[in-house]
């Protein structure tokens, strides 16, 4: 017992048990490090989706969709330091691509629709990314905000293609027949959205741990230093924009399926700001934080509507309560908890681990 303790303290990180060595083997490989938690979450969601009703399944799909877009925005804003107030517009590109594709070919396979939407939005992202790479701070914020305001107007102006204010109706993807006749549409949507979210998150997590991720971070922290280190700053910024646009395209395509509609009203400035709220509240720069933010964003309106019915609040208050809380929480997070939910959780985790270690050492010596 005592000799084992000595080796572990001397050799530091050397695993002492079978489980320890397995754990280290897993965490050393990025794909396994991110893939295994994703598989565990996938299994949990699979079981969960059967246990809950179709309303909760629908909500779950919404959380997953917002999480995809927020994760994309995390790469752009949190990791690369480019603020975007117009991500809702990029989601609209994905949504309208999906709507027009399905109008043209109603029986196109789901995976193809998603892939084409992602590619088209990513190409749009190249275009805007090239423009954005030249801009800093307030200029970038302003141009992306103008984008969020102006792009829905395009749908109104060319109403013969985009069907104007009422938008294009979409038949959500039907569940495959082998899942049985009683399998609800909402559950299928939840599966598709969660699967897409997990794939996106694993891919992004791996990317951020690679050289590409490091160069994105380097550009955010100090452009001149990054340049001296041989990083092509402009290319890094465009790359971040394209990755983030691809995520927005995927999220937008699924969002259109989720709403059953691609209409300008759904993709306004509010959506863009909500994505920003999600990543800031969740913890800027953290992919897991984006998921927390998406959860918060989707669950808060449910909570306040429950509150409103319980206290019988007038509609002028109950309709605006979520936004007031979002605004107040955003201000509060910036003032008091700049690390967001994920920052708080990881601080708690570090605290807990060090306590546990302390107690273990005390017990060992006593």
């Amino acid at each position: 017992m005592s000799s084992e303790k000595v080796t572990s303290s001397v050799a530091g990180r050397q695993p002492t048990t079978l489980w320890g060595s397995i754990w280290q083997g897993v965490t050393a490989r990025p794909l396994a490090r991110h893939g295994i938690p994703a598989l565990i979450v996938a299994a949990a969601v699979l079981i969960f989706s059967y246990e809950v009703g179709s309303y909760t399944d629908y909500e779950l799909a919404g959380v997953a969709i917002i999480a995809i877009a927020a994760a994309g925005l995390t790469v752009l804003t949190g990791v690369n330091g480019q603020i975007s107030l117009g991500h809702g517009a990029l989601m609209a590109v994905g949504a309208y691509t999906t709507a027009l594709l399905l109008e043209w070919q109603p029986n196109l396979a789901l995976i193809l629709v998603l892939a084409i939407s992602v590619v088209i939005t990513a190409l749009t992202g190249v275009f805007f990314g090239l423009a954005a790479a030249r801009l800093r701070g307030p200029y970038l914020a302003g141009i992306t905000l103008a984008l969020a305001l102006a792009l829905p107007q395009l749908a109104l102006h060319f109403s013969s293609v985009f069907a104007g204010e009422q938008g294009i109706a979409i038949n959500p993807p039907a569940a495959p027949s082998w899942l049985g006749v009683n399998f609800s549409l909402e559950q299928w949507l939840a599966w598709v959205a969660v699967a897409a979210a997990l794939v996106t998150l694993v891919l992004l997590a791996n990317l951020l741990r690679s050289g590409v991720g490091r160069s994105l971070r380097a550009v955010r922290d100090d452009e001149v230093a990054a340049m001296l280190a041989g990083i092509h700053v402009g290319r890094a910024r465009v790359t971040a924009f394209v990755i983030s646009a691809a995520c927005a395209g995927l999220a937008g395509s699924l969002f259109a399926d989720w709403l059953g509609l691609a209409a300008p009203g759904g993709f306004g400035v509010t959506l863009s700001l909500q994505l920003l709220i999600a990543i800031v509240i969740g913890g800027l720069g953290s992919l897991v934080g984006a998921v927390w933010g998406a959860l918060f964003l989707m669950l808060l309106p449910d909570l306040t509507s429950g509150l409103s019915t319980a206290f019988n609040l007038p509609s002028a208050i109950s309709n605006n309560l979520p936004q007031a809380i979002f605004g107040a929480v955003l201000v509060l997070v910036v003032l008091a908890f700049p690390q967001g939910i994920q920052g708080g959780l990881s601080r708690l985790g570090v605290l807990g681990r060090s306590r546990w270690r302390q107690r273990r050492t005390l017990r060992g010596s006593g």
Binding site: P138, Y139, Q323, A328
Partner: protein, 291 residues
């Protein structure tokens, strides 16, 4: 020809509103290097306060004064309570903070003042005047709006060029450290800058309220176009932003005459075009950043 004249007048009047917003943004930008995304929402809030005053039977002019004083106070409070603790960390955080404030104000206003769309009375007639026998496409309220902007711009120029307070404000924006060493209360200067800007925003809010219907989002577009004007003017110069705002007002009125749907899109295209050619705005004296 008549249509051209009508559009020009309309454009300049609209433009003077955008110019007021642009001027307010520039004031804050010069002082703290931050864009206040809550500028429009703050103006919306003070306009609602003025409307409540009118509904309580106070005269237009009292309500007008109340809006501006409220704006001044709101700006000072926002700077002192919210912005000051954050601004040391990073400008990005201040942007997020003002966005949060924007969302909060737009949600809290319908809770306090009711969500229905309301109309705001003008100080003068908003229909065209008749000079002799000729119908002139210029209303009393148009002249008032234009005059207010002119007075505001001249007063601000006088303040910055000729007064001790203006000198101190310019000094603290130019170099906070040195100013502090010279005994200037830099913090107080920043608060003054924000308060002045918010008062100016409140002025814009009250002036545009009679021509649009009052609802919590009515300042959103005004803010965007004012912001475009400020960027056109380079974000640094007061008169640059006035010119920028007027130009935006003119261009958008002409575009809106062709197709009303394209107004916002035209704003985006102008903004993109300017920023692509000159990423630092038209009137800016700053050196371009090399990447």
């Amino acid at each position: 020809m008549h249509a051209l004249l009508v559009l020009t007048v309309e454009g300049l009047v609209q433009g003077s509103i955008y110019a007021a917003v642009a001027l307010a943004l520039v004031l804050i930008w010069r002082a703290t290097k931050v864009i206040n995304f809550a500028q429009g929402a703050m103006a919306m809030f003070t306009t609602y306060v003025a409307l409540v005053a009118i509904h309580h039977g106070l005269s237009y002019w009292v309500a007008f004064a109340i809006a501006i004083v409220c704006g001044f106070a709101l700006g000072a409070v926002v700077e002192r309570v919210l912005v000051r603790p954050v601004e040391i960390a990073s400008p990005f955080n201040v942007v997020i903070l003002t966005l949060g404030l924007y969302l909060f104000l737009e949600a809290i206003v319908p809770m306090l003042f009711g969500g229905s769309i309301q109309s705001f009375p003008p100080a003068f007639a908003i229909t065209g005047m008749e000079l002799g026998k000729v119908q002139v496409p210029l209303s009393g309220f148009d002249i008032f709006t234009f005059g207010c902007l002119g007075v505001a711009a001249v007063v601000l120029t006088f303040l910055f060029r000729r007064t001790n307070l203006g000198l101190r404000m310019r000094a603290s924006a130019f170099s906070p450290e040195v100013s502090r060493l010279l005994g200037i209360r830099v913090g107080r200067m920043l608060t003054t800058g924000w308060a002045l800007a918010a008062a100016l925003g409140a002025l814009a809010g009250v002036l545009i309220a009679p021509t649009v219907l009052l609802q919590p989002t009515y300042m959103d577009e005004v803010f965007i176009f004012g912001f475009t004007g400020a960027i056109l003017g380079g974000l640094e110069s007061l008169w640059g932003s006035v010119v920028g705002g007027l130009v935006i007002g003119l261009v958008l009125t002409f575009v809106g005459y062709v197709s009303p749907d394209l107004e916002t899109l035209a704003g985006l295209i102008i903004l993109t075009a300017i920023l692509m050619v000159r990423p630092q705005g038209l009137f800016s004296v700053h050196r371009e950043r090399r990447v």
